[in-house]
Amino acid sequence: MKRTTYISLSIGFTAVLLTASCQKSFLDVPIQGQATTATDPNLAVNLVTGVYNSLYNSEAFGGAGGDIHGISFIAATNIISDDADKGSFDGDQPSLKDIDNFTTTPTNNFVAALWNGYYSGIARANQALAALQTASIDASTKSRLMGEVRFIRGYYYFNLVRFFGKVPKVVRVPNDAQDANTDPAFQTRAPVDTIYNVITQDLQYAISNLPLRAQAGAGHANKGAAQALLAKTYLYRKNWQQVQALTQEVINSGQYALLPDYSIIWRYAGNNSSESIFETQSGTFNNGDIAVGGYCTWQGPRVGGKGGWTDLGFGFDTPSADLVNAYESGDKRKPATIIFIDTSPQHKGTVLYDGFRIPSADSVQNLYYNYKAYASENPNVEPYLGNRDKKQKNVRLLRYADVLLMAAEASNELGQSAQAITYLNMVRNRAGLTATKAASQTDLKQAIWKERRIELAMEHDRFFDLVRTGRAAQVMQAAGKNFVAGKNELLPVPSLQIQLSGGQLDQNPGY
């Protein structure tokens, strides 16, 4: 073997080794296991479903997505009101106690979760709308899908404006972090009127582009839902003509009727019933339950005292004694709304409609629980695959009785008391009560307000209603709460968000 042979071999070897130039494709590696906007063939349609999915957002402890209909929502609508108490035991979740007692501070995690949740839902809506603009689907499908998305976005803004008053108006997708951090729209709060304009425009678009309930498919936003929600929006703006006109359209559409049995409304049997105008859907996905996270668990009856039974949840959002006493005698809605824990010396316990027995008070934490949030433990009664945090409960967000009572209120305000009484009595009759005795416009107004409280008890409406009608301070103070007028009508803007805006977001008065 000659040294020259080595040299020539080496030269060949070197040539191979050192010419390893970069082939461009070697560094072009597509992302594994994740679709991008370019590689998802059904992007726009999937994103619309994803907007509906945001109705489930329910992470109140700083997790991704925030809370739209979970415990934060329950707290800021029910617990805060005179219909419900915080529940559980005294020391459990002090931040919820703050909401109940109007000692909420801007660092409250549940309030922060609401802000995060609603804006993450709105962002999903904005993403879907942007994708729909460029999607190659037929025009009528496109406008229907856009109508559904804009219905949900309108609903989200309606809740936001009622929680926080002025809020940032975000109706587009930020290009990047720089854009998100510099565009004033993302950093400052728009006036309440501007937000109501967004809501009105979204819902009017939905009304024009959505089919009636019968054609829309269960669970989808439809024309009637958009009309009812827009009517409710106008109710808060005291635009009585519009409330009347829109509720009339819903009533005359022939799509809706009261369920004969009030107790069925919130059960599986009442899912998407004739009374339902809009409700979150529940079912199964990936061999698991899918629904608003924790809705039933947070509100489920809780073990206490002697214990000795498998409880149903954490026992929050318990109906207040004030609500219990507000019912007229013989009102069928009372036992359908409240689970009464047995305090009798016989210790018989409470047997629920599906046969589930809750022991008597010495083994239970609280005296009252929300029956509407009860989902059966028995999968033969109501579908349930065993995920306690995702019990299949449709949360009723808008129903026909609300429309009737809005119609009644608008008619009364417009001086059409006969009409108002008719609608009011439809609701009372179903509850097994006699016709209203109120006659004067003022009495009738009070009667309608009272009826709203009872009919929609524990349905996330009471506190907003008190604020809307200007009674919040008087009623809450009478209930012994430290309510400060001019402050506690609204929740504080989360302090972290104020910091992230560089102080450009302003705080609500009094916080």
Binding site: F13, Y52, N53
Partner: protein, 1010 residues
């Protein structure tokens, strides 16, 4: 060039065939030579006459060489006219003419010019004296003497500029930070290079297999690793076979581990008093008093055994080893086992061609204790609840909504196993004296399996002493997860090395390519029976079955170049350049260029230094380099669609949907670190004193960091990864070593190293400060990373004291007369109204230090007297703060308290200012929770005895050493929690929530050589 990248396997086969062809030629060529003679002998230390292992014996003018065995013996073939060169680090080289001798014993004299040693510098080696960057070498035997799992842990306190944050958890690697924390999100770990294979984890490497660890610290040294060099590089060289007769070595130790420090919680009476005072409801202490930590912590058994075989001929050498390590840890139900195998082979085909492989296999088996719930629950669980009676557990959750900590652990079975094959193979061709061509391939296969079983149990009297509560699991469930990764690298290098008169020049050029792929799969079912032999997915309820899977893939392609120039052993110059292309960045930012330059001046080589007697060696050096960091997820710059956000219209089975939930920065680029280093190295007083002083200034910019964005942008986690921050670390490293002899029989050494580091965020580039470190529901963040402060500084309310009376509350007013804490009661904390607005809120927070230490140091000393050896190492860390997160998490009025809180609490008239009155927890983040993180401890103390050779000769054993060793015998710390050593991300590091306590280990060991 598809041939290069797609056909690498084919190419490799061709190379192997070439090797075989060469091999046969070489044998033919040698057949024509006259047979050489075999020479045997022993190399000893000139002073102590002890045999020296690892000494290189080489036939002059050839590539034939060998290394002495553990006793200093060697055997080599050479012509009877040849000359042998005998050399070893730290000794003067000797040349001995063979002249027909078949036995040559050599006595080596210590070389006081110790900088002649050779160090590994990345894609090559260099004389330590020629190095112009900051590097440090640690011998494998220094590491292997400690009873710890990883070499990284053993490095603690051994080198200036290298901070190791221990983890006591079995099977885990400690956190390593080289010269401060200079990144936030992009991965802070140093790069490990094991026999040429790049990796992030060396927990598979048996420490006993390591010859040396070389740590490259400054940017000029790490720039050869370009985009992976920013956090420093740790190069591990494993043992090679040595020619001569086969030697067999056993080394082993066994002992116990126990917690180094415990947190004492209140007992039942103390608890009852405290809670009664806090809640106003009288709590009866009862007859039970449970020490919950005592229930889940134990002393664990640990053992480590290793057997190695080593030998070879002139043509082939081998080093084979097997290791077995088990560690029970100090938490019940916890045990880690590791089995390792290694085969390192080198083949010399001829003067021109060499090849070798280095391969290791490891099998890890980790029974993991469910600490996340258990530690927190043990802190909070009431001592008045019994722990366990027979098979029934005490019911803490029915009492206070906290799980029973024993149950947290015992009702969960979490086992992780992994199989890893990490190896490399090289082929060297040296066609002419001054050129070496090397092709080197490395592969890292990892197959990880995780099996988590959760037992079914109800909150009834079958499981609990009293029924009720929320701790239950109505359906058992089983999750299997498999992750397979494969990472290959292929380096092709050419090294030119030539001396022209007084000019020494070495030039390296090369290319590297690498690819990483990962496949993940998981499956889940409920209702799997409790018998362990049925823990397979198929036994579960098929109606509950779910599965998931994903993958990852990225590639890198690089060009490297380096010039080392040495003029007359006086002036040194090194320049490197690496161009790195990474698939993890958008195409326009794909390539990064990382240059460095270093210069050195060996003053002792100058004529004017010849007359002085103090310094043997004095070297000044200065360097500058730029390195990068690309350790971010592959999907960081591309907007992806989150699938499976389903919705069941009308009920039933849901329709799949998706959402774009993350804002991405389409312009992501490399993190860039620039570092300047000035150093002095010296050896003085005939080698008795040596040392090194370095100043460094390291600025990292375009740091990838998650910037929080307002929630209104809809980013689901509220953060966007972007190139926002800049961080500076500057510091001083001092290393001093002294070695000496008292008599011929007694020698000793004392060494110290210290690092002063100042960490500071020097720019957020218009981004917002980063708030992080949330603890529980009421402390949403505890740290703030902001301009001018160390990264992850604690940012909390300032406690001024405790309100002693109602008058004090009423009189604590703002300038405008507003009562600042109107709802406070005597015994509550008085917080500073920093902004003077008359109320206490987040705007009143102040910076309260960070986890970044101001200094850390190591001290080590050794003494040998005849066969006895003793060594002791200290490690310490000063000037940082830790956050007592577990105390901050206390959130319920029935939660337990620490004994010190129960006794030290404020009471009316006590005047106590530093501990509030009895309270229900849920306190806001404040300086109360910030404690000193400084500590110093005896890291390791070892006493060994080597049996006299005379005794052993009869039993044909060449060496026996017995030793006792202790790890962490004593820790002196101010922190009241378990440990001040807390891992985490830079922006939330130093918060103790569920930290596995640092442990002490006492072990007995034995080394035997045959």
């Amino acid at each position: 060039m598809d041939y290069i990248f797609l056909g690498w396997r084919t190419k490799w086969v061709i190379n192997l065939v070439l090797c075989l062809v060469f091999y046969s030629f070489i044998n033919l060529a040698w057949a024509r030579h006259a047979p050489p003679i075999r020479i045997t002998g022993k190399v000893t230390d000139g002073a102590t006459t002890v045999g020296l292992p690892g000494v290189t014996v080489q036939v002059k003018g050839t590539n034939t060489g060998t290394v002495t065995d553990a006793n200093g013996a060697f055997s080599i073939q050479a012509d009877d006219t040849a000359t042998l060169i005998v050399s070893s680090i730290g000794y003067q080289k000797q040349e001995i003419a063979v002249n027909g001798q078949t036995t040559i014993n050599v006595s080596l004299q210590e070389d006081t010019r110790s900088l002649t040693e050779v160090v590994v510098i990345g894609y090559g080696t260099q004389r330590k004296a020629d190095v112009t960057g900051a590097t440090v070498t640690i011998k494998g035997e220094e590491l292997a003497k400690q009873p710890v799992l990883t070499a990284t842990q053993a490095l603690q306190g051994k080198a200036a500029g290298v901070q190791i944050i221990s983890s006591g958890q079995p099977g885990t690697s400690p956190t390593i930070r080289i010269r401060g924390t200079s990144t936030a999100l992009a991965g802070t770990a140093a790069l490990f290079v094991v026999d040429g294979v790049l990796t992030d984890d060396i927990s598979n490497i048996n420490t006993a297999d390591i010859t040396n660890i070389d740590v490259l610290k400054d940017a000029s040294a790490t720039a050869i690793y370009g985009a992976r060099g920013a956090n420093g590089v740790v190069i591990i060289t494993t043992k090679k076979g040595t020619t001569g007769k086969m030697t067999v070595n056993y080394s082993g130790n066994a002992g116990f581990r126990m917690p180094a420090s415990l947190v004492r919680m209140a007992n039942a009476t103390e608890y009852a008093n405290y809670v009664s005072a806090a809640s106003g409801n009288v709590v009866n202490p009862g007859t039970t008093s449970t020490d919950w930590y005592g229930q889940i912590i134990r002393n664990g058994f640990q053992q480590n055994h290793g057997l190695s075989v080593n030998g070879g001929t002139d043509k082939a050498t081998y080093f084979l080893s097997a290791g077995y390590f088990t560690d029970q840890g100090i938490v019940i139900d916890n045990i880690y086992k590791r089995f390792t195998l290694r085969a390192n082979n080198d083949f010399t085909f001829s003067k021109y061609v060499k090849a070798g492989i280095s391969a290791s296999y490891s099998n890890g088996d980790n029974q993991i204790a469910n600490l996340n719930s258990a530690y927190n629950d043990a802190y909070r669980a009431a001592p008045i609840i019994p722990s366990k009676a027979g098979t029934k557990y005490g019911n803490t959750s029915v009492y206070q909504n906290v799980g029973n900590p024993i149950m947290d652990i015992e009702k969960n079975n979490n086992k992780a196993t992994d199989n890893r094959l990490l190896g490399s193979a090289y082929l060297d061709i040296k066609p002419i004296e001054w050129l070496t061509l090397r092709s080197e391939m490395g592969g890292d296969w990892l197959n990880q399996n995780s099996r988590v079983y959760n037992y079914q149990f109800n909150n009834d009297t079958t499981s609990f002493i009293t029924p009720g509560g929320n701790q239950r699991n109505p359906n058992s469930n089983l999750t299997f997860e498999n992750t397979r990764t494969f990472h290959w690298t292929w380096n092709n290098l050419a090294t030119f090395s030539k001396k022209f008169d007084k000019h020494n020049l070495t030039v390296l050029v090369g290319t590297t390519a690498e690819q990483y792929t990962q496949v993940k799969f998981s499956a889940f079912r409920k209702d799997v029976p409790a018998a362990q032999n049925l823990w397979y997915i198929g036994t579960g309820n098929a109606n509950t079955s779910t599965n998931d899977g994903t993958g990852d893939k990225y590639t890198r392609n690089s060009y490297i170049g380096r010039v080392n120039y040495n003029f007359n052993d006086k002036y040194l110059l090194t320049a490197t350049l690496r161009a790195d292309g990474s698939s993890r960045f958008p195409s326009r930012n794909r390539w990064g260029y990382f240059p460095s330059v270093g210069a050195g001046w060996l003053l002792t080589s100058e004529p004017f230094m010849q007359s002085q007697q103090i310094f043997d060696i004095l070297k000044l050096r200065a360097s500058w380099g730029r390195v990068g960091n690309d350790r971010i997820p592959s999907d960081s710059y591309t907007v992806t669609v989150q699938p499976n956000l389903a919705y069941p219209f009308g009920g039933g089975i849901a329709t799949p949907g998706s959402a774009i939930t993350q804002i991405k920065d389409p312009n992501l680029k490399w993190e860039t670190t620039e570092e300047a280093d000035l150093g002095v190295e010296f050896s003085a007083l005939n080698g008795r004193l040596s040392g090194e002083v370095n100043y460094y200034n390291k600025k990292a910019r375009d740091l990838l960091i998650n910037v929080k964005v307002p929630s209104v942008t809809g980013d689901a986690d509220g953060v966007v990864l972007t190139n926002a921050a800049s961080i500076q670390n500057q510091g001083l490293e001092v290393t001093l070593n002294w070695r000496g002899k008292i008599t011929n029989n007694i020698s000793y050494r004392v060494g110290a190293n210290a690092t002063l580091n100042q960490n500071k965020v020097i720019g957020l580039n218009g981004g917002q400060p980063i708030l992080d470190g949330g603890v529980g529901a009421n402390q949403q963040y505890t740290t703030r990373t902001d301009n001018g402060q160390p990264v992850g500084s604690f940012y909390v309310l300032q406690v001024l004291g405790v309100f002693q009376t109602a008058d004090e509350v009423a009189n604590y007013k703002s300038a405008t007369g507003q009562v600042i804490q109107p709802s406070a009661n005597p015994g509550d904390f008085k917080y500073q109204d920093t902004n003077g607005d008359g109320k206490i809120d987040d705007n009143d927070r102040v910076f309260a230090g960070s986890y970044q230490p101001k200094a850390y140091f190591g001290l080590n000393a050794g003494l040998t007297w005849k066969g006895l050896d003793f060594s002791v190492d200290f490690y310490g860390n000063v000037g940082n703060q830790v956050y007592n997160g577990k105390r901050g998490f206390r959130q319920n009025q029935l939660d337990n308290v620490e004994r010190s809180m129960a006794y030290g609490r404020w009471s009316p008239g006590s005047g106590i200012q530093n501990e509030p009155g009895a309270n229900s927890g849920n306190l806001p983040a404040s300086t109360y929770f910030v404690e000193s993180g400084s500590f110093v401890r005896i890291n390791n103390a070892t006493l060994g005895y080597k049996l006299p050779d005379k005794l052993l000769e009869k039993v044909r054993i060449s060496s026996v050493r017995v030793f006792v060793t202790a790890q962490n015998i004593l820790t002196i710390k101010k922190y009241s929690g378990f440990t001040a050593e807390l891992s985490g991300n830079p922006t939330n590091q130093g918060i103790e929530l569920n930290a596995y306590p640092t442990t002490q280990t006492y072990a007995l060991g034995l080394n035997v050589g045959f």
